[in-house]
Amino acid sequence: MFRIDFNKLRFLVCDDNPHMRRILRTLLHSFGAREVYEAEDGATALEMYSHYVPDIVITDWAMPIFDGLELAQMIRQPESKGNPYAPIIMLTGHSEKRRVTVARDAGVTEFLAKPISAKGLYQRILNVVANPRPFIKTKTYFGPDRRRNTNSAYMGPERRVGEKHEVLQQPSLLDKARSTI
C-alpha cells in the first residue's frame, strides 16, 4: 500500500470563489500538505505558477480574466521556460461529458466534477502522483496522453501514425467475407 507525503508537495489552487478555496485549503492541509498557494483568477495563477513552481495545479474552470481552460493551455506550452508538465486537476461545476473532452484537449490531467469530496480529490491526486502518463506532442496538442488504455487493434481515423500497431494489417472485407462462408 502506498501513501503520499503531502508535506513534500506544493499545490497551486485557483478558484474565484473564496468559499471553495477555503474548502480546498482545508482538505489539502488535512491530507498533510503545507504549501498551498491560492489564486482567484487565471492571470494571477499563471504568475504564481511561474514564481512558485507548484507540483500540482488544481483549478476551477469558470473564472474572470482568463479561465481554467486558458490557464491549462498557457501552462502546456512546450517551449515555455516554466514547467509545462505539471499535473493539472480541473475541479469544476461543469458536469457535461463534452466539457471533459474539451478540458482533456486543453491538456488537463484529471477532471473532478463538483460537488467536491475528500475521497474524489485524494484519488485524483494519488493518480497524478502514482500513475503519470507520457506526454504527447502533435501539431495541435501538447499534454498528457489522452488515451488511458492501449488498443493496438484500433484502426480508426485517429490512429497514431508511425507506431508499432500502424503495421498491423487490417483484413480486407473480401477476406472477412470469405472467412465467414
Binding site: F2, L9, L27, V53, H94, S95, P115
Partner: protein
C-alpha cells in the same frame, strides 16, 4: 520539488507526433506503508470539512444574495453580456457548492438555471417566470433549510423545475441538434 532536467526527458519521434516520457518527478513523495497502517487522510479531511460545516449556511446565504443581485440587475437592464455572465456564474457556483454546503436541492435547481442560460437561443424570449421560479426556489430552500419537513418539498420542487426547464429547452432547441444532444446527455456529476 524540482522538475526533471532536460537530459532526463526521453523523446520518441513518430510520423505525426512525439511521445515524451520522463522519470516521475513526484515519485519521491510516494511511500510504501504496511497494510495495517491506520493513517486515514481521507477520513481526516472529511472530519476537517465537517468542522467547517457551521459556516456553510452563512456561505450559502452569501451565494444566494449574489444570485439575487445578479437577477435584479438583469431585470433592470436586460441580458447584456456582463449581466448574463454574472447571473450564470452566480448560478454555476451554487450548482457546484450547494451540495457540499448541505443544500443538494438548491444545487439541482441552480444546474437547471445554468442550462436555461446556456442553451436558450434567446434569453430575452425566455419567460421571466422560468428564471424567477428557479431563483425564488433556491432562496426559499436556503432560508427554510432548518425545517426538516422542507427537505422532501425542496427535492420535489427541484425535480419539477428541472422538468419544466428541460421541456422548455427541448422545445426551443428542436432545430439545434448540437444543443439538444447536450441537453439530453446525462450528467457526470458524482451522486452521493
Amino acid at each position: 520539488m524540482a522538475k526533471n532536467s532536460a537530459k532526463d526527458i526521453e523523446v520518441k519521434a513518430f510520423a505525426t507526433h512525439h511521445v515524451i516520457t520522463q522519470p516521475n518527478p513526484l515519485r519521491k513523495v510516494l511511500r510504501r506503508v504496511d497494510e495495517k497502517d491506520m493513517d486515514d487522510p481521507v477520513g481526516r479531511a472529511e472530519q476537517a470539512l465537517a468542522s467547517l460545516s457551521g459556516e456553510f449556511k452563512d456561505w450559502m446565504t452569501v451565494e444566494v444574495q449574489r444570485l439575487s443581485i445578479a437577477w435584479t440587475a438583469v431585470q433592470k437592464d436586460g441580458f447584456t453580456k456582463k449581466l448574463r455572465d454574472e447571473l450564470f456564474h452566480a448560478a454555476h457556483d451554487i450548482k457546484g457548492d450547494a451540495a457540499t454546503f448541505g443544500f443538494p436541492s438548491a444545487a439541482v435547481i441552480a444546474e437547471s438555471l445554468c442550462r436555461v442560460i446556456e442553451h436558450a437561443p434567446d434569453l430575452e424570449k425566455v419567460p421571466a417566470e422560468l428564471f424567477t421560479h428557479h431563483i425564488n426556489a433556491i432562496l426559499a430552500i436556503v432560508h427554510e433549510n432548518t425545517r426538516l419537513d422542507s427537505i422532501s418539498v425542496s427535492a420535489e420542487l427541484s425535480r419539477r423545475l428541472r422538468k419544466v426547464a428541460d421541456d422548455y429547452l427541448a422545445n426551443v432547441n428542436r432545430d439545434r441538434p448540437e444543443h439538444l444532444e447536450v441537453i439530453l446527455a446525462p450528467s457526470i456529476a458524482p451522486v452521493d
